[in-house]
Every structure is written in C-alpha cells, then in structure tokens.
C-alpha cells in the first residue's frame, strides 16, 4: 500500500509539471511582447518596465522558468500586477465562500444523486427510470448560470424565501451563512447530480445482474438489503471515480456560480483577474485548482481500498 501511495504521488508530479509548464509558456508563446499583452494598449514605458521586472521577462526563458518554479516550490505564487499584493494573501480570504459552496454541493449531490441512481436502476425501464435519465440529460444541458437565475427568480424574487445574492461568513452565525448558501449550492448541484445519478444507475445495472445479487435474493434478504448492502457497495467504485473526475466540472461551476450569486470566492477572484488582465493571478488560480483536482483524484484512488476490499495494491 505504501509503495502504491508513493507511486501515485510520483505519478502526480509530471501532471503538475505539465500544468506549470503550460501556464508558464502560455504567456511567453502568445504572439507579441508579453509585457505589452498584460499592460494593454495604453501602457506607459514605465508600466512595461515594471511588468518586465516583476515577471523577470528580461532574463532568458529557461532562467525565467527556473526562477518561477523555484519560487513556486517555496510557496510563492507571485504578486498581482494590479494590486501589488502577494497572490497567496489575496487567495486566503476568498477560500471560505468557495470551499463552503463546493463542499455543500458535493454533500447535497451525493445525498440526492445516489438514491436517484439506485432507484432508477432498481425500477429500470419504468417512468421513474426515464425521469431520472431525463433529469440527468437536462442537468448536462442547461447552463449553470441559467439554472442560477431561474432559482433566483423563483425562490429569491417571487417567493422571497432566501436572499438574492451575497455571502455571509460562518463567523457571522450559521443562519445567515446557510440561507445564502442554499441557492448557489442547489444551482451547482444540478450538474453534479446529473453526473453522479447517471453513473450510479449504470453501475448498479451492471451489478444487479451479478450472481451474488441473485444469491442474496435467493437467501430471502429484503430488497433494501440487496440494494444497499450487496449491490450499492459493489457499485460504489465507478461512482466515487466519477465524483473525482467531475471535480474539474465542479471547479468550473464554482467560477460561474460565484459570478451569478456575487460570492467573493476564488472564482470571482479569477474572473476579476481575467477582466483586469492580471495574468500572475490567473496563472496561480490555474495551478491551485489543478493541484486540488490532482489531489482529490489521488485521495479517491486511495479510497478504493477502503470501499472495495478486493482492490489491493
């Protein structure tokens, strides 16, 4: 197990290396002077010099990369071109809204999607099954921001059950924190529910045809026992995998949802950085989110052994 863990961690290094190289080269390979690209058309020579100095653009490219990657490995994500603040300091206060929405979405999605998928597979071919599959195609097709605005219109403007937009920190009390989290979470959960329910259903359909399920039924175990203890546990691995691979979708969703609901999270920080052409911040956000994605998938790989004792490394 320890050997496998080491191998998996080592395998993640080239992936992150490619991500780092890509974001580094993206600015350098874009046609034109990188400093002029970042500063915009009306930049003064002083501004261009400042950007060149800040990003080390006067050095040969391999030295630029070496300096940049060494700083990165020491936890220095660089400095914003707009606010001149260290990017790490800018990210810190933005984490709470993003993590809250992402975590709440994962929890809500699993709670809704897994039962939906199990029921759809159990009642395979009935209207319940068709309803779940229809919901899943809808979830993939209706853009997050359209869902967000429909929910705002119904629940915040027409019914006035929850606030329209904004975020309150948990330190301001659970009530205000929770009521502002409901709509963004429901919005973002739509696509994740679609993904997980579809996979749960497909995986359960595979498993429900297995001999051990027939044996369990023959032993007279109740339907709930068959579904939950015998089938779902065996169907869990692909479901967990899709939760991991869908994490990139979740991160993209967080960026859009934060813009719809005006949440001051890392997604909003990224969009603001794009609008201001603050490339060091964009670069840092890509590295951060890709790192989270790789780490989540690493953890999920390790979780397989806990879920399915047949998997041994």
């Amino acid at each position: 197990m320890l050997g496998y863990l080491l191998r998996r961690i080592l395998a993640a290094i080239p992936v992150m290396g490619v991500v780092a190289l890509f974001v580094f080269l993206l600015l350098r390979l874009t046609p034109g002077d990188p400093a002029a690209i970042l500063a915009g058309d009306n930049a003064t020579p002083e501004q261009l010099d400042r950007i060149r100095a800040s990003l080390g653009l006067n050095e040969p490219i391999y030295i630029q990369f070496y300096t940049w990657i060494m700083k990165l490995l020491h936890g220095d994500l660089g400095v914003s071109l707009i606010s001149n603040k260290p990017i790490l300091e800018m990210i810190g206060p933005r984490l709470e809204p993003s993590i809250s929405v992402a975590l709440a979405t994962i929890i809500l999605s699993i709670l809704v999607a897994v039962p939906l998928g199990v029921i759809a597979a159990w009642k395979h071919g009935t209207w319940i099954d068709r309803f779940v599959m229809g919901l899943s195609v809808l979830g993939f097709s209706v853009p997050v921001f359209v869902i967000g605005y429909v929910l705002i219109q119904i629940f915040a403007i027409d019914l006035r059950w929850v606030p329209v937009q904004g975020f309150k920190s948990l330190s301001a009390g659970f009530g205000p924190f929770f009521e502002r989290l409901i709509l963004p979470t429901c919005t973002l959960s739509f696509i994740y529910v679609a993904l997980i329910a579809r996979m749960t259903r497909a995986s359960m359909l595979d498993v429900l045809g297995e001999d051990y399920v027939r044996t369990a039924r023959a032993k007279g175990i109740g339907e709930a026992g068959v579904l939950l203890r015998h089938a779902l546990r065996n169907a869990a691995v692909p479901v967990i995998t899709v939760i991991g691979s869908g994490f990139a979708l979740l991160i993209s969703g967080v960026v859009v949802t934060e813009s719809v609901f005006n949440l001051p999270g890392i997604g909003r920080l990224t969009v603001d950085a794009v609008l201001a052409r603050d490339y060091p911040v964009i670069q840092a956000m890509i590295l951060l989110t890709s790192g989270i994605y790789v780490a989540v998938n690493l953890l999920i790989d390790l979780a397989y052994t806990l879920l399915d004792p047949r998997i041994r490394y």
Partner: protein, 295 residues
C-alpha cells in the same frame, strides 16, 4: 502462400461503419431534438431574413421596452431588439460548436493515432494530455482568451484546447486495441507504409466513437462559449451571442429577466438537442453501450 507475398490489395480493409440517419428519429424525443436543432440551424442561416430589426442598431429612446408588436421580445438596455439579437446569436454558438468539434477531432485524432501506435510518443503525449485534463476547462479557456484578446478565432482555440485530450485519449484507446488485430499485423508484414496503415486500417475504427464524441464536444463548446461571454471573457460584447445577451442582462435582471431567460432557453434547447442526438448516435453505433445503459 507466404504472408510476405500477399498482394497488398488482398488485405481486408477495416470496413468503415455505416451510420444510417434513421437514428435521428429513433424515438419521439430524439425526433423532437432533431427538429429543434434543424430549426436553430435554419434560424442561424437565414438570420438576415428572419430578424425583424438590425441586431446592432442602438436606439436609446427604446431601451428596456417590454414585448410589443414592434419588438416581439422587447429591447435591451441599449434599445436593441432582443429577438433579432437572439436570432443572430445562434450563428456564433453554432459556428463555435461546430468549429471546436472539428478542430479538436482533427488534432485529437492525429495525436491519438500517433500515441496509440508509437509507444515512446505515447508516454510523453499522455503525460501532456493528463496535465491539460487537470486544468478546469473554463479556467484554461479564459486564460487563453485573456492573453490573446477576444475574437471568434481565439475563443475557438481556447475552447478547442481543453477538448483535445479527451479526443486523443479516446482515439488512442481504440488504436491500442485495433493495432493488435491480425489485419493490422498483416498490413505491417507486407510492408504497407505507416501513413497507409494509420489511414486505411486504424483510422476507420475511430470514426464511430469520434462522431459520438464530436457531438458531445459540440454541446460542450456551445456551453463554454456562452460561459466565456457571460463572464465577460468572450467575444466582444456588442456582437450578438447568447452569452453576451445574458451577460448584459445581468445588471437588469430584476427589471427585465427576459434578457436572461430567452437566450438561456434557446441555449439550453440547443445543447440539449445536440446531447440527445449524441446519445442516439452512440446507441445506433454501439449497441453494447446501449445495453450497458440498460436501454
């Protein structure tokens, strides 16, 4: 007869799949999706004939007007006719969707064919693909657009890059299986040229999965374009795209939610139709998948 004396023409070429268009009407829902998509395509092609007004014409006196006989869906904050802008918006969505699907398939096919065939290329290319897949596609796309400036071409490139690894991986997996087949070994034995082996014997195996993947890429590209425009990182705001109309509508959402709902509805119908047609194509081309999905 020794295999090395076999005339090359006697080696069976993999029979390309045959996709009959009947799958487009396989079920009533898919037929409706096909009709919806056809209508949206016609709307895009004949936009100049269908649009009642110039989608770019500013008329400050007419700003945020409700639906009326003159403006069937009302006007936006600059007095432009919402319906005309939505009709023209279909053009950008479809061009980007189709363009990104074709580009990512062509590039992904090349990478996948080479990776699947040459082990040493495979090791490097797949690490690069893993790296690209680790970057959330929206972030990758907005980074590309923010550096290269927003135009329809940069947006298309920005949307294509994150899709390439998915196509390349799919093609590679098909090639890895196909290259072990006797007909490929036979083609290698008789000294067929490498491009010929790839083009005539390996590539036909990838067409069916690529058609299915192409529809999903198309749907995803339409969605990503709308998201980029919505976030303000897409094609310049005066160009009528569904994402741009919605982005402008954000500020007036409480006054005129139609600015978001109408383009949002069409966008959803377009993506839903393409996804459903993709599912139908997959079922038609790969019955095993259909069985697995329990249909």
């Amino acid at each position: 007869m020794a295999i090395d004396t076999l005339p090359e023409s006697s080696i069976p070429v993999t029979r390309p799949f045959r996709l009959r268009l009947g799958f487009l009407t396989a079920t009533p829902i898919i037929a409706v999706a096909t009709i919806c998509l056809a209508l949206i395509i016609l709307m895009a092609i004949f936009a100049p004939l269908l649009a009642p007004h110039d989608p770019l014409l500013l008329a400050p006196a007419q700003r945020l007007k409700p639906a009326s006989a003159q403006f069937l869906l009302g006007t936006d904050a600059f007095g432009r006719d919402l319906m005309s802008r939505i009709i023209y918006g279909a053009r950008i969505s479809l061009v980007i969707g189709l363009g990104a699907a074709v580009c990512s398939i062509v590039i992904g096919l090349l990478i996948g064919l080479v990776s699947g065939f040459f082990r040493w290329v495979d090791a490097v290319m797949m690490r690069v693909m893993d790296g690209l897949m680790a970057i959330p596609s929206i972030l990758l796309a907005i980074a590309v657009v923010s550096l290269s400036g927003a135009s329809i071409w940069t947006v298309m490139v920005a949307i294509t890059i994150p899709e390439i690894p998915r196509v390349a991986r799919l093609v590679r997996s098909v090639v890895l299986t196909a290259r072990e087949e006797p007909y490929v070994e036979a083609a290698i034995s008789v000294g067929s040229s490498l491009p010929k082996i790839m083009w005539r014997h390996l590539m036909p195996n990838t067409i069916a999965p690529l058609i299915v993947q192409g529809t999903y890429v198309c749907a995803s590209a339409i969605l990503t374009e709308a998201i980029l425009s919505f976030l303000g990182a897409g094609i310049s705001p005066e160009t009528p795209t569904w994402g741009n109309i919605m982005a402008e509508g954000r500020a007036y959402f409480q006054v005129k939610p139609q600015l978001i709902f109408w383009p949002g509805l069409l966008l959803s119908i377009a993506i839903l139709s393409v996804n459903l047609i993709g599912d139908a194509a997959r079922d038609a081309l790969d019955p095993r998948m259909k069985q697995r999905e329990g249909k």
